[in-house]
Symmetry: C2
Subunit: 435 residues, 2 copies
């Protein structure tokens, strides 16, 4: 594994013990950040090292996308501005049913290209044909937290849990540790209590976190109350789900009791503001969750309901929505928003030593141009990254100490081939000729 010295960068460490930014050097060895200096102190090294002049870059931790369905990028722009039921039942499910394992492979690769180019170094994924997803992650160099989506109704419910466990045995820890596997019960409304109990037993036995959709829409919460007499959060608490490590996606419709339970049980939240707005689900009570001490990461959800995989956009939306909805401009200030998009996201996915530029942490970092018109003047770097910068400003990406993207170009993935393959497959799936 190569040794790399980033020389003379502006560094936004996204570290509560070191707020704001400073100018300095960063040394990376063995996949880890081994040393950080602040000017006038410099890092000198006697062994062979690749030196990167980072004088025109802002270095920050890579973005952590805590919730999504990568291969759904194939359905980007296929169906928009529709009522949720019509969108799902008449548009998305029929084309999803046609997906092959090869489609999933190329779709996932396309989403990885977009995420890496936009500064995301870790993503969570819940979908199917997960062997192909893991294959794409392995080839691309990105970090991921993967699970087979489990549906607990219908004839395949028993085998889906077995497949989820098998996927863990086959892939967890591969890609030099970049591939992490969890279990993935889809949601309370697709996984009845008896099924969830089996999933909980498996998670407990394998010491695996769980990814699950919870309380995304008002309708789903209402249906749960009708059927079980309580909210989905209370139902999960009663079933013992929260005795496991849980990454709960969405959590838009919560009452105070729900939030108290989540805080007490240390449930991690994947907040997807763009998708929740676009589908008309609403706005998650993020300020309340944060005040209660809940760890909240950010996610894009699948590109069919976003329609891009831009974590800068989600970060900005999360901060702006909290301020605007609560009429309080001091909520989620820049330092906090950056933490949500990076280290809090890593914590939400139960990843250790990830998401900060700090000695001993995983060398997952990105370099942002500071030469664009919207980066002038640069009064405050965290504010710039939150309010003005964007995915298109990313010039350099390193994951696990390996350079993946330099000068805006991917080093290992064949972007043109991936775009062409994915476009052709999307056209075939949807029956629309590529425009």
């Amino acid at each position: 594994m190569s040794k790399v010295l980033f020389s003379g960068a502006m560094i936004v460490p996204v570290d509560e013990s070191r707020p704001g930014f400073f100018t300095g050097d960063i040394l990376v060895e063995g996949g880890l950040i081994s040393k950080i200096s602040e000017f006038p102190e410099r890092i000198t090294t006697e062994t062979e090292v690749k030196v990167i002049d980072a004088g025109r870059l802002i270095l920050m931790p890579g973005m952590v996308n805590t919730h999504g369905h990568a291969a759904m990028v194939l359905f980007r722009g296929y169906a928009d501005d529709l009522p949720l039921k019509e969108w799902l039942e008449q548009k998305i499910w029929p084309v999803e049913a046609k997906l092959t394992s090869e489609d999933i492979y190329w779709g996932t690769l396309l989403s990885i290209v977009e995420m890496l180019k936009g500064g995301t170094t870790t993503f969570a994924d819940m979908y199917f044909y997960m062997d192909q997803v893991a294959q794409a992650v392995g080839e691309s160099g990105i970090r991921a937290v993967l699970c087979r989506g489990l549906i607990g109704v219908g004839e395949n419910s028993a085998t889906s849990l077995q497949e989820g466990e098998q996927f863990y045995r086959d892939w967890h820890g591969r890609g030099a540790g970049r591939i992490n596997v969890t279990l993935g019960p889809h949601a309370p409304y697709t996984c009845p209590p008896e099924f969830l109990k089996k999933v909980i037993i498996a998670a407990d036995r394998l010491h695996l976190p769980l990814q699950i959709h919870l309380s995304e829409t008002a309708g789903e919460v209402e249906a749960c109350r009708q059927e079980y007499g309580c909210s989905p959060i209370v139902l999960m608490e009663r079933l013992g789900l929260f005795e496991q490590k849980v990454i709960a996606a969405h959590c838009v419709h919560l009452d105070d009791e729900d939030i108290q339970i989540m805080a007490r049980r240390q449930v991690r939240v994947a907040h997807n503001p763009g998708s929740n707005l676009k589908l008309g689900s609403g706005v998650a009570p993020v300020a309340k969750l944060l005040a209660a001490g809940v760890t909240v990461g950010l996610g894009t959800d699948g590109a069919a309901s976003n329609n891009n995989l831009d974590m800068f956009e989600e970060m900005r939306l999360a901060a702006l929505l909290a301020k605007g909805i609560n009429r309080d401009p001091t909520l989620i200030p820049a330092d906090k928003a950056l933490r949500m998009a990076t280290v809090d996201g890593a914590a939400a996915l139960f990843l250790e030593k990830t998401g900060q530029l700090k000695e001993g942490f995983r060398a997952d970092m990105i370099g942002i141009s500071r030469e664009l018109p919207h980066a002038v003047p640069l009064h405050d770097l965290p504010a710039h990254l939150l309010y003005s910068a964007g995915a298109a400003d990313v010039r350099l990406v390193m994951v696990d100490g390996e350079m993946i993207l330099e000068k805006g170009e991917l080093l290992y993935l064949d972007e043109e081939k991936i775009k062409a393959e994915a476009a052709a497959r999307a056209a075939k799936l949807t029956g629309r000729s590529e425009t």
Copy 2:
């Protein structure tokens, strides 16, 4: 004026009579779109013409930014995440008081660079030292609707209206018609009724529209009710302001009576979703305004409260907020959001034949790359432009039939010099060394 043929583009005309998109050619002559063809029909021309192969571009009308304070870009990132009162009184006003006319010139140029590169071809501006703003507009080739901000209290209130009128006489119609001047009474809370009456008389005499801030914050509406016993909208109605052409910025806090008045009086709204969220002002009732038949354009506001001048972001925010807040994903669909950002914005600014790709309209248009990862697959062009594309995707900009930007580079402005000058001036104004 040159004659240009765009050959083989994907065209999103943003025209209700022609929804969606098609592939075709566009001929531009004398500053106007003279002909549009749809394949297989092609445009042939016998006279000399510059042919641009637009086969890899999506052509759409340029964005119209209906509200802002361009030179405030110098205070981008200077003060964020603060309560509104502290932000204004302790941070923004003290640095604004130090602005020189040269600062305004360079700050405005920087904002024009950012706007043009991001696909904005028209912007509205309310500030001071407006001669320098008009100068910058003239040199840059962009289209603008400018006004001197008028404050009706203090010793300069009488002269400010005279200066506003003089600015009209000096600049209206210059820049080959690209410079449009209106009057600009700042807001009801800075312009007492007696002053507003004088402004109304002047607007009536000169047949000029008015730009004004209305009902931006709950506190301002409450203070108006305390002082005048009615909302700012009702107060303006009583004063006769709405008998003039009015561009009302913000309009966040409106009741049903306000909306009825605005619809009846054909008040135009400049909706600034990003700024309203960031300052904690709230979310304007855009869906209600649209349902009442009010023309709503979009704006960035100044970069001190945004912090960029990206109209794609404002367009996406406007659509997402309407859907999410009202829990209805069918509100502001892609075609409508695109209209708000272009032709409705032009109408909000009382500009004619602007904001659509249509024969006889002003040739203000932009070309968007369709070769980026987030443009794959391209199932639906309006949805792509609204939900996935961004300012960084702009490759070509034409204003009034003149090419301003090609292959992402500005043809007439010296971007590096402008960034350096603006950065140095910002550092001097704020007392912070350029980072």
